[in-house]
Symmetry: D2
Subunit: 351 residues, 4 copies
């Protein structure tokens, strides 16, 4: 059981929310690729809550300090080590909170997993903050993929009951994906932006939270990547996507919807155009038999509502061994994957 991912390129994540620093080691990258730290900073900035809607007293820069593996602006081929300091943590606030198991969090399962020895301050290793090293790894990877003209982009397909326009699976352009990467709330239908923010804000005013679905496309990826049985593309991508704690579902192409089609509709027929083979539809999300077919790889990821809410919730006091009520006061609600900042709040418990 581990926080290490990968075979030829290994990503090793460490750190707890209120320790001195969190960090990442990326092992196995090839040498000689340009890495622009400005791009990394920009991606790190995208991970943080949108300033217009939310605010947080804890203002951490998420400044990444690269310790190794990049020299004169290029990958050296040896492991990249990077840390992000936890500059603004106040550990003394957490004592009461620790005994009340927060519903939807890993407080209980983590307690059992680590026999109570894990650092529980600010959710510790379970904190949404631990997605920051993953974003760093992604920002490095994206620059290498860019050399091969592979582009990845996402839009927020839905928030609660409101839906954006989905990607046209067969017609996704690099420009479209780059534009989405530049938006604070990436959507295909611009009118969704305000509505999404209003839904989130209303939930916050109700001391509650909402979730949504992210749709992602990878274009420029060659046919022939992946392998049958276990190392198929769907297995590899789902495996890494579930590392984001709030993810509860993954589907490729039409996904669950493909079960409502006939085979004759679901099969993506092949056609030859300018000596290249395409599929006319892309219900299989660019993947046949676990291997890319050259069409855009498209998948959707279900993100559950932020667990951290201010409403009263029934729970158990694990120290006292009795049923209790948890209320986290005065906290602002954050969208995943940053459900950590409730931690400065006062706690009222009663049985």
């Amino acid at each position: 059981m581990s926080s290490v991912f990968g075979k030829n390129i290994k990503v090793s994540i460490f750190g707890e929310s209120h320790g001195p620093a969190i960090g990442v080691v990326i092992d196995g990258l090839p040498s000689g690729f340009d890495i622009d730290t400005e791009i990394i900073s920009k991606e790190m900035g995208r991970r943080k809550p949108a300033k217009e809607v939310y605010s947080t007293k804890r203002n951490e820069a998420d400044n990444v300090q690269i310790l190794s593996g990049i020299y004169n602006g290029k990958t050296t081929g040896t492991p990249i080590g990077a840390i992000i300091k936890n500059t603004d943590s106040l550990s003394k606030d957490y004592n009461n909170l620790e005994s009340l198991l927060r519903p939807g969090h890993a407080d209980f399962s983590g307690f059992i997993r680590y026999n109570g020895y894990n650092d529980k301050r600010g959710s510790g290793h379970f904190s949404g903050r631990l997605t920051a090293p993953i974003v760093f790894a992604g920002a490095v990877a994206a620059q290498i993929l860019n050399v091969y003209d592979i582009t990845i982009g996402s839009h927020i397909d839905s928030i609660f009951d409101l839906n954006d326009i989905r990607f046209d699976n067969t017609q996704i352009t690099k420009e479209q994906l780059i534009m989405l990467r530049g938006m604070d709330i990436p959507v295909n239908d611009r009118s969704c932006r305000e509505e999404y923010l209003e839904i989130i804000d209303q939930a916050r005013r109700d001391l509650d939270s909402v979730g949504g679905i992210v749709e992602t496309a990878i274009i420029g990826i060659s046919a022939g990547i992946g392998s049958p049985i276990f190392d198929n593309i769907e297995a590899k991508l789902s495996s890494i996507l579930f590392s984001i704690p709030a993810v509860k579902g993954i589907e490729f192409g039409e996904g669950f919807g493909i079960t409502k089609l006939y085979g004759s509709q679901a099969n993506d027929s092949f056609c030859l155009h300018n000596e290249n083979i395409y599929t006319r539809t892309n219900n299989n999300g660019g993947i046949n038999g676990g291997i890319t077919n050259g069409m855009p790889v498209v998948f959707r990821t279900a993100i559950k509502p932020t667990s951290s809410i201010s409403k009263e919730q029934d729970t158990v006091d694990i120290k006292e061994g009795k049923n209790s009520i948890l209320q986290v006061k005065g906290c602002l609600v954050y969208t995943s994957p940053s459900p950590r900042d409730h931690t400065r709040c006062s706690i009222r418990s009663s049985d």
Copy 2:
């Protein structure tokens, strides 16, 4: 890229549909567990198409020959090697089929992946038949899990547009799961059985196919299994589930549906009952922070419609390099994961 899965227990699959045999090596099992070959045979039988509705000229016994690792009816602790002979293959029928890329299959992506060198007879290593070694591994694993009172069962949650009754996520019994394992078409609502068969049969008569959703529950699994970041339970389970070629989506607990709930609804509140901690709801499918919480682990898997259909389909003749039409004649349609038996059919191609 590989057909090997696992860390402490490794499963290695090999074989092609029309080679001498397919097989599996299971490495790392503990010694001294009873393995009943009758149970294995029964599970292997469940993988085959239901006899009442379908028939296949190719009648392969799927008799597993265990070569090592089980001695005097118990696991030895050394690797289990097992093979299933391909007794009834006729390789000469496939010559024409090979050049026509079957939509929905891995013909094209596999061709690129292996530079055309893979054994394409009967889909080769991509054949649904390669799920047989996985079923064997599962049948061994289930007997070891049974010693720890862990039970796994599934029902067909939907076929095309018809839905069975879902599991009550908090109230799943061992008896219920064992009963499902004994049914040819496992359903919670018995009335679904006939309707499911009629939907499948109608699609077959229309030279077409349908897919569906499988809902699975694991009960008896302790709290505390799994790890945050990469080795979480959702990542591990999704990774292995996508090894079944027709799977296009996975969701845990309420899955995609949880995005339509408020946080106050989605969070499973804890309660203490007889000194044990439970959750009142199970929207997170028994998993918090990637770690089991002791509640039933529940997930749904989307299975696309069988790719092998008899309807005419547009495609490309990869040898001739021109657009063509594929029609597979005289074949009976099979539900996944056995989409291989179209292979005796005659082929008509035209451009």
Copy 3:
């Protein structure tokens, strides 16, 4: 703990000496390489005891049956599965032997490791026979390496107290290595052959056995293979070499002898010749910092004397729980790695 080796190319070994078959899965080989089964058979033959000196009643052909992964004489890119049947096993002979722990064998450590459940007939999974699948894997690998003009060859550097002439580390030719591969007793100094055989035969007549050292060279391997820290070439090679049960030591270049040199002698100075960089000496065995430097990779492997001897030996009867004497009668002594054929012998035990 496992019988699976490798990262991108995985080799999975299974089988016991007296089960139906032993075998191997090789996963991750590239597609399109020619594999000549004649070469495989020849290499399998080299593994067997030299006929002139030894004989064994158990005459197993070591015929490999390839089940998958090779089609039309070429690798398909999907896993190669292969089995070797155990055609001539008689399991009833082993009952008495099992309770007497054979010194130098894995009888005791294996008993503890597997809680007594392992198949102990003919040493089971510990049998020297399990090197046959490794030889098969090597015979496949050598053919692929040959395409890249990489050649591997060995000579018997010593038997007991007699030494062959060592390789000249800087001047090893492909012709020399191929010649060695064709010899039944590969030696650089031809006069050693008869003396080696006489030493072995004398030990056998004394109901005893001898060991020796194998020196191996790899030529044609490019500079730049391997990585610092853990994935260095020495670590990878030693890791796989110790899979042969009788190996007790590995050294690269001058190995232990390099500790008797001064730094100024041990350092291999570089020189430029025809625009290529060479080292004038090769005390480091072609490896600097864990990475090949383009010089021949040279290493020596210590093989302990065959454990199976006919002399009386003190031991413990593990069933009776008392000190005993083991005498294996009427057996011929074999060189490693084939220490299995004592198994038809009668046993006399006494306390």
Copy 4:
């Protein structure tokens, strides 16, 4: 190719000699074990050159900063991240040195491996300084092993042509190993200490260096650890031991010497004493069939002479593309594994 080691417990090393910091992530340790940072500091101190004989202008504290995974003095079960800052590096001194390939170093093989992009200052990722994170990992591991009464200790078996007294393989005590761990020059025969120092000092005065052999014992390890074929104890230990750059050979038990024994001498006969099974000799170094047998695990490691010497050496100037002479002036010579501090020296090159 990677700097990550391990399966259930993964150790990931990163850093270059003259970057901001080097570090390590240890993933998969169990929770709740006491970790004493004093013990860690003491072990880190042992890695540094003995003060009496040597001196270095670069005085780095090797102070480890633990960033995660240890809380309230105990392992949390989540990854331990730790860094060691490079406080005293002066990168400007290295420009000339880089173009002259140092014999015995990874300058050439590393250049090819990384296409010249690796950080070459102070040997970069190849620096002996990178053994510091490994020592840290070992110091943590030793404290956990201590709970299970497993003790590891080493003595310097030889320096150049002088030998210490070897361990009595069957009679190694915990007290003996702990005493060795407390000595600056660990030897069984105390009189060796002064002689060893004199040999090293004489070589230094001759602008040269020497190597030696380390003998290590592990006691208290249970029988039954390890597995046949690939995950045997010899393979695992040798694999990690070769991660120390200067190691050129490994042998277990009698190692290469066992090839000079008859089988009747090499086989360690079993005997029963107080209901426990022992071997009378321990020529196999506590390992049979790759699995521990409960006897002390004993192995020797050959360490080549420090590559960094002040004598003139022939080499190639890789920038100029011509044969040259390298002389590193004014440097003190260090024993491995700290061959890095020559780096402040002036360089004279000529062809």
